[in-house]
Symmetry: C2
Subunit: 322 residues, 2 copies
C-alpha cells in the first residue's frame, strides 16, 4: 500500500502542503534556503501533516489556515530530523546525503532552528495560540525523549516501561499532537479530541516500535542507512530489551553491549541473538496491540470516510517496510 | 554603572524573572534541567527582558503575563547562546565552562531546542500570538544572521554595509523586538511602537559593534574567552573592515586573513594593525552615532521616568567594558 492511496482523501491538501513548504522556507540567505529545500525535497511520508489533515477533515476551517498548520507540523518534523542527523553524525537519510554531510554541523544546527522558528511564526500569524501551545509542548517532549535516549544508551538493564516512556516522548506525543490539532480544527467535542489524541498516541507508539524493528530486519539499502545501527550506537530498543531477558543468550548480548565498541562481527552476533530469541516477533506483537488500541480509540462520531482512512493509516503502520 | 542601577525601575520584575526562569526550565529529565539551570545561573546582563520590562512599564497588563514574556525572551536568548557555543566550539563563556564542554554537543543542541520550545510554549499559554509572531521572526532573523556569518567568514572584501546587515539580523532585530513587544504591552500607538522598535534596533547595533570592539580591546579575563577570537575565526567585524581599508597596512591584514590559519604571532600582528589604523576609534564613533539615533528615536509620549531609564540604558551600552 502506498502513501498516495491511504492519504487519498487529503491528497489535494497534501499537494498544497508540498508547494507551501517550498514557499515557507524562502529566505534571501542562499545557504539556508538551499539546506531547507534539500530537506523538503528529500521527501518522507508526510505522516504527521496527513494525519492532521484527515482529523481536520470534518472541520469548517478555511483552506489556507489548515494548510499553514500542516506545513508548520512538517517543518517541525524536518527541524527535528536535521538536528537528529547532527546528533547521530548520520551521513545519509533515506539514502540521500544529510545536511550535516553537505553543509556541516554548524549550518545544520542553524537550519533546524530556522525551521522551528518558521513553523511557529506561520502558526502565530494565524493567531492560533492553542495549536501553538500543543506544538511547542510537543517539541519540548521530543527534546526530553532524545536526551533520555542519550542518557540511557548502552544501559543493558533498561526496563521495557522505560523504553515506552522514552518513545512516547520521542515520537508518539508528536503524532498524538498532530491528530489532536486536527480534531480541534474539526471543532470536535473534548471527549472526541481526547479520543483522536489517544488514537495518534497509540499509532505513534506502533510507528516507533516498527522503526526500531526495521533497524534489525531491513537491508542498508531499504533503510538508507546501515542496519543494526541502534545496537551499534547502544540505543536500547524493544527487540534488544526482549533479547536481553532471554535465558540462553541474554547474558551474551549484555556483554556485547557493555563493551560499548562493537565491531561488525559483534553486531552480526548481536543481530543473531535478537532474531533467535524471537524478539522481532515479540516486538511486532506489541505493534499489533498498539494498533488495536488505536483502532478502538476512534470516536463514534467520526464521518465514516474519515474513520475508514484512519483505520487504513493504522493498517499501513503495521505493514510498512521502510 | 552596574545593571542593577540602570534597571532599578524594573528591579522587582527582574527578580521575579530570575525565579520564574528556574521554574520554567523544570523537567523530570535530569540532564536537561541541569544544563538549563547551568545556563540560567551563568547569568548575563538580562538586557533583553529588562528592556522589554522598561518599555512595558506604562502598560496595564497584569504581572504574571508580563513576567512570562520576559522569561520567554531570556529563554530564547539562552537557547541562541547554547547553540552559538556549539557552533563556535567555545570552551568557556563569561569565564564558565560552556554546556557543550560539560555535557557534549548533542545534549547542548537538544537543550537549545528545548529552551526555544519552552519559550514559545510559555507565550502561547498566555494566548499572545502577536508576541509569539515577533519572537519567532526574531529567531528566524538570528539564524539568517549566523548563517551569513559562516558564509562570510574569511571574506576580506566584505563591505561595511554587509557587516551592518549581518549584525542587524544577528543582534539588533532581537533587541528591537524586545522593545517592540514592550511597547505593544504598554498599548502605545503604532507610531510609538515603531519608535521604540527603532530605539531598540539602534541600541542593538551599538551593542553588537561594542561587542565586536571588545574582542580586540579586552583581556581574555574580562571577556571570559580568548581575545582576538573573531580575527582567529575569520569573523570580519567593523574594526577589521576599517583596518582592511587602511592604505599602509590593509593589504598586510588581508593576507593574514586569507591564510585562514593564523598562529598567535599572526593574531598579534593583526591586532597591532587594527589598533594602529585607528579602527577602534572608528568603530566607537559608529557606536556613538547609533546611540544618538537610539536616543532621538524615543517617542515624546513616554513617561519621563521610562525615558530617563531608556536613556541610561543607551549610556550603559556606550561605556560597557564586558
Amino acid at each position: 500500500m502506498r502513501n498516495s492511496s491511504i492519504f487519498a482523501m487529503v491528497a489535494g491538501d497534501l499537494a498544497l502542503v508540498e508547494a507551501e513548504l517550498l514557499n515557507a522556507i524562502q529566505t534571501p540567505v542562499e545557504m539556508l534556503s538551499d539546506i531547507s529545500a534539500h530537506l523538503t525535497k528529500a521527501g518522507g511520508k508526510r505522516l504527521r501533516p496527513a494525519l492532521y489533515l484527515l482529523c481536520a477533515k470534518q472541520g469548517p476551517t478555511t483552506g489556507s489556515d489548515k494548510i499553514s498548520v500542516a506545513v508548520a507540523i512538517e517543518l517541525i518534523h524536518m527541524a527535528t530530523l536535521v538536528h537528529d542527523d547532527v546528533i547521530d553524525n548520520a551521513a545519509t537519510r533515506r539514502g540521500i546525503a544529510t545536511a550535516n554531510t553537505q553543509w556541516g554541523n554548524h549550518a545544520s544546527v542553524l537550519s533546524g532552528d530556522f525551521l522551528f522558528a518558521k513553523a511557529f511564526s506561520m502558526v502565530a500569524a494565524k493567531g492560533n495560540s492553542d495549536v501553538l501551545k500543543i506544538l511547542a509542548d510537543v517539541v519540548c517532549s521530543m527534546c526530553e525523549g532524545e536526551i533520555i535516549q542519550i542518557k540511557e544508551s548502552f544501559n543493558a538493564d533498561l526496563l521495557e516501561a522505560d523504553y515506552y516512556g522514552r518513545i512516547a516522548k520521542k515520537t508518539a506525543d508528536f503524532i498524538a499532537g498532530s491528530a489532536r490539532i486536527g480534531a480541534i480544527t474539526s471543532k470536535m467535542s473534548p471527549t472526541d479530541i481526547q479520543a483522536l489524541h489517544q488514537y495518534g498516541y497509540a499509532l505513534g507508539m506502533a510507528f516507533q516500535i516498527t522503526d526500531d524493528i526495521l533497524d534489525f530486519t531491513s537491508s542498508a539499502q531499504q533503510l538508507g542507512k546501515p542496519a543494526g545501527n541502534d545496537l551499534r550506537q547502544g540505543i536500547i530498543t524493544l527487540p534488544i530489551i526482549h533479547a536481553l531477558r532471554d535465558r540462553t543468550s541474554g547474558q551474551q548480548l549484555k556483554e556485547l553491549i557493555l563493551q560499548r565498541k562493537m565491531n561488525e562481527a559483534d553486531i552480526k552476533q548481536g543481530l543473531a541473538i535478537i532474531h533467535n530469541a524471537g524478539s522481532i516477533e515479540y516486538a511486532y506483537n506489541q505493534v499489533a496491540q498498539y494498533l488495536q488500541r488505536a483502532r478502538e480509540a476512534l470516536p463514534q462520531s467520526l464521518d465514516s470516510s474519515v474513520r475508514t482512512a484512519l483505520l487504513e493509516v493504522a493498517d499501513f503502520v503495521g505493514i510498512r517496510k521502510y
